[in-house]
């Protein structure tokens, strides 16, 4: 197979090393051209958590291992090979296949089950393919890895649920509301934490966004950013009475909405359910307001707990996911080896068929008229049987070696022994 996966990830290299080793678009294209030009096939996966190169060496090309890769990375990124080498890992042949399948299935990710990596692997493959840096091996391997990742996602719960606090918050909102075009989102405060959640909420398409903040300038600024209406801080109670979803993210040292204030000034003016996403620390809303019916309040602790539960559940799905990867690795390696050994076995059989015909043909001509049709059949059958018995062991050995993944040497030996092209 002659496949190598060499690289570093968040486990082996700190973020500053990964940043230095990362390939941007043009650098990646150049590296692909260099590597594919000198070695045969190449693909590079470069994300914030990993930089990996997959190479398949053509016969006669120079050796490429972790040491050579360190020298190459060092030269490209202006680092000494000694600085790069300690952070690199190297996987060969079947282990390289397994590594790519695990990476694509998000089993090697910082957050197991995250959905981005499969897309990044697909992009990396398409980029290499576009530059003609891939060949038979990588053209078969990457699509297989993407199919295996899809199997893992659909057959296990590893990708189920969300793991970012803002996505969990939006999931809760979806459990309460069905449509959003008639809903009002009230943003209280202009904290950084809230902006990402607001971005997710905006994707739901709410009918109206109100923004209020102690500092009116900040409210106006955020409202302009998100296409909302700034509301004076003094109108908080009125705005809360109108809102369906409140996203609170102030930096207030005390709760801005104690239960007494809500019960007296907001609740009597409200109908329907209010979802409060209180992601402020310390909390802005009294947690006792939550009743799961008229008020559904989720603070940062609740959202983090759900995130932890999701991660714990994903951990349970790792073993079944690994089993799928294992079976897909075996399938790929078997298929690949069969594809490689099949033509050699075919050639061998054809060659010996030809030799047999060269021996049997003249013999039958010489014995013409001396043998009955049945005798001719017996003689020809005996030669065929002899050929089959003779070839049985070499063919079985090639097939066995291909299953064990060590057949390239044996294939070469068979080719040389029988003088096959």
């Amino acid at each position: 197979m002659n496949l190598r996966a060499i690289g570093c990830n968040f486990r082996t290299a700190t973020v500053d090393i990964r940043e230095k080793l990362a390939f941007d678009g043009p650098a990646q294209d150049k590296a692909l051209a260099d590597l594919a030009g000198s070695l045969g096939e190449a693909a590079i996966i470069s994300t914030c958590n990993r930089v990996e190169v997959y190479v398949s060496r053509a016969p006669g090309s120079p050796a490429f291992d972790a040491r050579a890769a360190a020298a190459y990375f060092g030269a490209v990124h202006g680092l000494s090979p000694d600085r790069v080498a300690p952070h690199l890992y190297e996987h060969v042949d079947t282990e390289a296949v397994r590594h790519l399948l695990r990476v694509t299935a998000s089993l090697d990710s910082l957050i197991v089950g995250e959905g981005q990596i499969a897309g990044q692997v697909k992009e990396a493959f398409e980029r290499s393919q576009k530059l003609a840096a891939t060949g038979p091996l990588l053209n078969a391997l990457f699509p297989h890895a993407l199919r295996a990742a899809k199997r893992v996602r659909t057959e296990t719960g590893i990708a189920r649920g969300h793991i970012s606090v803002s996505s969990v918050a939006v999931d809760f909102v979806r459990q309460v509301f069905d449509h959003f075009h008639d809903k009002t989102v009230l943003v209280i405060g202009a904290g950084k934490m809230g902006r990402l959640t607001l971005k997710h909420l905006r994707e739901l398409g709410p009918g109206r966004i109100l923004v209020t903040n102690r500092s009116p300038e900040k409210a106006i600024e955020l409202a302009a950013e998100c296409g909302g209406e700034p509301i004076p801080w003094e109108n908080l109670d009125t705005a809360l009475a109108e809102a369906d979803i409140a996203l609170s993210t102030t930096g207030a040292p005390e709760p801005i909405m104690p239960k007494k204030r809500f019960v007296e000034k907001v609740r009597p003016r409200r109908t329907g359910t209010l979802v409060v996403l209180d992601i402020a620390v310390p909390r802005d809303f009294d947690p006792d307001l939550h009743d799961g019916d008229s008020v559904c309040l989720f603070n940062i602790d609740d959202l983090t707990k759900v995130r932890e539960r999701t991660l714990a559940k994903r951990k349970k799905d790792i073993a079944p996911a690994e089993a799928i990867v294992q079976s897909e690795v075996k399938r790929f390696v078997d298929d690949w080896n069969r594809r490689r050994s099949g033509p050699v076995i075919g050639q061998l059989t054809a060659e010996v068929d030809k030799l047999r015909a060269e021996v049997v043909g003249p013999l039958m001509a010489r014995l013409n008229g001396k043998l009955t049709a049945e005798d001719r059949k017996h003689v020809e059958g005996a030669f065929k049987l002899f050929q089959n018995r003779l070839l049985h062991s070499p063919i079985a050995a090639v097939q066995e070696a291909s299953r064990e993944g060590e057949h390239p040497t044996l294939l070469e030996a068979v080719k040389k022994l029988f003088r096959l092209e």
């Binding site: 999931d171 809760f172 459990q175 509301f177 069905d178 109908t271 999701t310």
Partner: protein
């Protein structure tokens, strides 16, 4: 073909629905690729057998047996539509038990069912059957509405309880949003109330005109239907005038459904051997 369909029994659709429910319960834990199709196929087979049974046996709608079987059939249609429309949601695990329960109660009324063929209908139902049929259809439609409201309420309570505990479903029992369930309940109650009112008023008029109202008003069926109408009136008042939270409305809808089952299972004053 029609000979084969004529031989369809209660057991055919009861078993199909039960196995479909079993598959749906398994799906809560393990989502195999073929399970959804198998569940839907069995549910559809159950509905087909149910339809064939009703078409060939034409149970008397004036009997609890007939009414319950027809309400169960309408819910069967509701189940199949919902299962196709809300694929990933745990729809069938709520609707199928209600269908099975209604069919089971109908079977418990089996003696009445056998007798239903020889029920002597009052003259108004034989001669001028129109208003009697309208009365029956109105109450039947109201019963379907109450059943839908009940299902929405049960799902609402489970969803609200889950939100109260701040638990996010990670697979398993996936439900519609609170808003959707509340809307389903509201529409069911809103639609059922005028049907129930119309059916009840028409029944009272027919009772007064053709029978002795004073003698029949105290039957379980009549009192229960009046109670059901009262429960619905309270439900509408609480929703639109008092703005009571959804949880209490859901509980009251469930109580109304229980009352409706009692009403449906009770004998009709006109169908008790012909004497009003």
């Amino acid at each position: 073909m029609s000979g084969f369909l004529q031989n369809v029994t209660h057991l055919c659709f009861l078993l199909s629905y039960a196995v479909a429910l079993g598959i749906e319960l398994v799906r809560l834990r393990w989502r195999g690729p073929g399970l959804r199709i198998a569940g839907l196929a069995l549910g559809a087979a159950g509905l087909f057998a149910h339809t064939a049974f009703l078409a060939f046996h034409l149970p008397n709608l004036a009997t609890p047996y007939g009414t319950l079987l027809v309400v169960a059939w309408v819910l069967g249609v509701f189940y199949l539509y919902g299962s196709l429309h809300h694929g990933p949601k745990a729809w069938a695990v709520f609707v199928l038990p209600v269908i099975l329960g209604l069919v089971a109660i109908a079977l418990l009324q089996g003696a009445d069912a056998a007798a239903s063929a020889s029920v002597e209908f009052p003259p108004w139902l034989i001669g001028d059957r129109f208003w009697g049929a309208v009365h029956g259809v109105l109450l039947l439609c109201a019963a379907v509405g109450v059943s839908v409201g009940f299902l929405a309420s049960v799902m609402y309570l489970i969803q609200a309880d889950r939100l109260k505990k701040k638990a996010m479903p990670l697979g398993g029992l996936k439900l519609l949003s609170l808003e959707r369930l509340e809307a389903m309940n509201r529409r069911a109650v809103n639609a059922s109330f005028p049907l129930l009112t119309g059916g009840l008023l028409l029944g009272a008029l027919l009772l007064r005109q053709y029978h002795d109202l004073a003698e029949n008003w105290a039957s379980v069926k009549v009192l229960g239907t009046v109670g059901l109408w009262g429960a619905f009136a309270v439900l509408l008042y609480l929703r639109y005038a008092a703005h009571v939270p959804g949880r209490r409305l859901a509980l009251l809808t469930i109580a109304a459904f229980a009352l409706m089952v009692v009403v449906l299972a009770a004998a009709h004053p006109f169908a008790a051997g012909g004497t009003p």
